[in-house]
């Protein structure tokens, strides 16, 4: 399929009680690129992402994955669709009753009929790429936050998904670790060649790795385009959001 748009979101609405969080989101996510969604705290970024991977059903609207609307699908079909996504949660969400190796092997054990040897080979390959061979037998509770994030990336990648999603990958990390994660996102995208979606309010991440940026504001997409377009945007809301993070155009791409 050569359509440059991998996922198309149309008129998406989601409310919790009286709280109308998404109010008609229209968003294009581009194939093979790093798409970044920015927005203030509570703007609904995580809610949007939860609709994308069908963790929740939207009230209204369509989510077209390669042109197929996934909103009306039932749980059994969705389980199949979800395997096309890899998801790196904000707090990593590793299974804390399993070792690092078992965490990464989990999707393979669940969804493939591979033998133990082949699983071991694939898991170790991913762990090596991410510099985690040493941590193979450790429990998630015994490793640092940055390492946990890398394990989460390894687990998301092991099924070789088409789409890799990161929720606030640098939240809660120090600046140095944040830049390491940025590098990780970039090199991972180069390595696996799929579509990446990054949710962030870290402007360094946004303009450091983003190839396509969209801003969510008051339940709608306020602006979208190349990073340079957003930096040069005349929209006062966009300007204020970017300016208040202290990132100047000089910081844009290295």
């Amino acid at each position: 399929m050569n359509d440059p748009i991998h996922i198309k979101v149309e008129g998406l609405h989601k409310s919790y009680g009286d709280n109308h969080v998404l109010r008609g989101v229209d968003l294009d996510l581009y194939r093979g690129r790093i798409n970044v969604v920015i927005g203030g705290s509570g703007a609904g970024k995580t809610v949007l992402l939860r609709q994308l991977i069908a963790l929740e059903k939207p009230d209204r609207g369509r989510i077209l994955l390669d042109g197929e609307d996934i909103v009306p699908l039932d749980e059994v079909l969705l389980n199949r669709i979800r395997r096309r996504f890899g998801m790196v949660f904000q707090m990593s969400a590793l299974f804390d009753s399993m070792t690092v190796f078992e965490n990464v092997a989990f999707p393979l054990i669940e969804h493939t009929r591979l033998g133990a040897k082949e699983i071991r080979k694939r898991v170790m390959a991913k762990l090596e790429v991410l510099g985690l061979e040493e941590a193979e037998r450790r429990m998630p509770g015994e490793i640092s936050g940055g390492m946990r994030k890398r394990v989460a990336v390894a687990r998301a990648l092991v099924m070789e998904p088409e789409i890799l999603i990161y929720d606030e990958p640098t939240a809660g990390l120090d600046p140095v670790a944040s830049r390491t994660v940025d590098d990780l996102i970039r090199s991972t995208a180069e390595h696996f060649g799929g579509t990446s979606i990054v949710i962030s309010h870290d402007m360094c991440t946004t303009f450091g790795v983003g190839q396509h940026v969209a801003m969510l504001h008051e339940g709608r997409i306020r602006a979208a385009g190349a990073p340079a377009d957003l930096l040069g945007s005349a929209d006062p809301v966009v300007q204020r959001f970017i300016a208040s993070s202290g990132v100047t155009p000089a910081l844009r791409r290295d």
Binding site: R50, I53, L55, E75, N79, R80, R82, R83, F85, M87, F89, Q90, M91, A93, L94, F95, D96, F106, P107, E110, H111, M159
Partner: protein
């Protein structure tokens, strides 16, 4: 509340300081309405969880390893506490029975009396309560922690249904293990009764055994097993449900655990009455 009762109360000084608080009767009414609403919402939620659990139970893959793990956790984990409470329960029941029956010189019947109350009531109820204390609390905490740290969502995004993966094995394990634990409770309880009745209080051992066979019917055992099955399955299902719907970090997990134990225990007592009435 009667007029006199309200008047007799000394005035509460802080009441005036608070701005526009609805008066007592209105607040009382609200609280009275809120409890049934919360109660029925909770029951509805639990029913939904039950239906989903049954649905996913029948669908492959069947995760035998997880089932065995859960059986070991519930069975082996509760073995010690169940044996201990069974022994003391049997001993105290025998003591009571011997003392009260001695009045009629009928203490020979102590074996039968204890066996009957154990099989019909004490064993299933205590097994259920001990399971609630031991297994339900642990399960609510474990699943609750997985919920608030997004591990449950992680399962879903990896195409693994969390009900099928987390709830089904635990509930099935409870259904299989509790009847066995209940029978064990009765057996150990009778050892306790024998120790007190025969060894200590000199009841004739032949009579002790005879009366057991006389008093306890096979239907009592059936009742025992059915009750245990219901109590065990119910309390573990409640624990899974509470953990599954936990929210709000570590504090939320703590609340879920408390609720699992409280609701589980209360439901066991309520169901005990209903089942006893139904099977009389």
């Amino acid at each position: 509340m009667s007029d006199e009762a309200t008047k007799a109360r000394p005035p509460v000084p802080e009441r005036e300081a608070l701005p526009a608080r609805p008066d007592l009767s209105l607040r009382l009414l609200r609280a009275l309405v809120r409890f049934p609403v919360l109660f029925f919402a909770g029951v509805g939620d639990l029913a939904l969880m039950t239906v989903r659990t049954l649905g996913w139970m029948l669908r492959p893959p069947y995760r035998l390893r997880l089932l065995l793990q859960a059986m070991a956790f519930i069975g082996v984990g509760s073995l010690f506490i169940i044996s201990l409470t069974a022994l003391t329960a049997g001993m105290v029941l025998a003591l009571q029975a011997v003392y009260s029956m001695r009045i009629f010189q009928a203490e020979g019947a102590v074996g039968g009396a204890v066996a009957m109350s154990l099989t019909r009531e004490i064993s299933p109820v205590f097994t259920g309560l001990m399971l609630t204390a031991q297994a339900s609390s642990a399960i609510a905490t474990e699943i609750g922690t997985m919920r608030v740290t997004d591990q449950i969502d992680a399962l879903t995004t990896m195409g693994v249904n969390p009900i099928q993966y987390l709830v089904v094995p635990r509930v099935v394990a409870a259904a299989l293990m509790t009847p066995i634990l209940c029978l064990l409770f009765t057996f150990v309880g009778m050892i306790g009764a024998y120790l007190v009745g025969v060894v200590w209080m000199n009841v004739d051992p032949g009579q002790f055994m005879d009366k057991i066979a006389n008093w306890v019917k096979p239907s009592d055992f059936r009742q025992s097993v059915i009750k245990a099955l219901v109590f065990g399955t119910l309390t573990i299902l409640i624990a899974c449900h509470q953990g599954y719907s936990a929210k709000g970090g570590a504090a939320g997990v703590g609340q879920a655990t408390t609720r699992a134990v409280v609701i589980g225990s209360v439901m066991i007592m309520v169901c005990d009455y209903l089942l006893t009435a139904a099977m009389m």
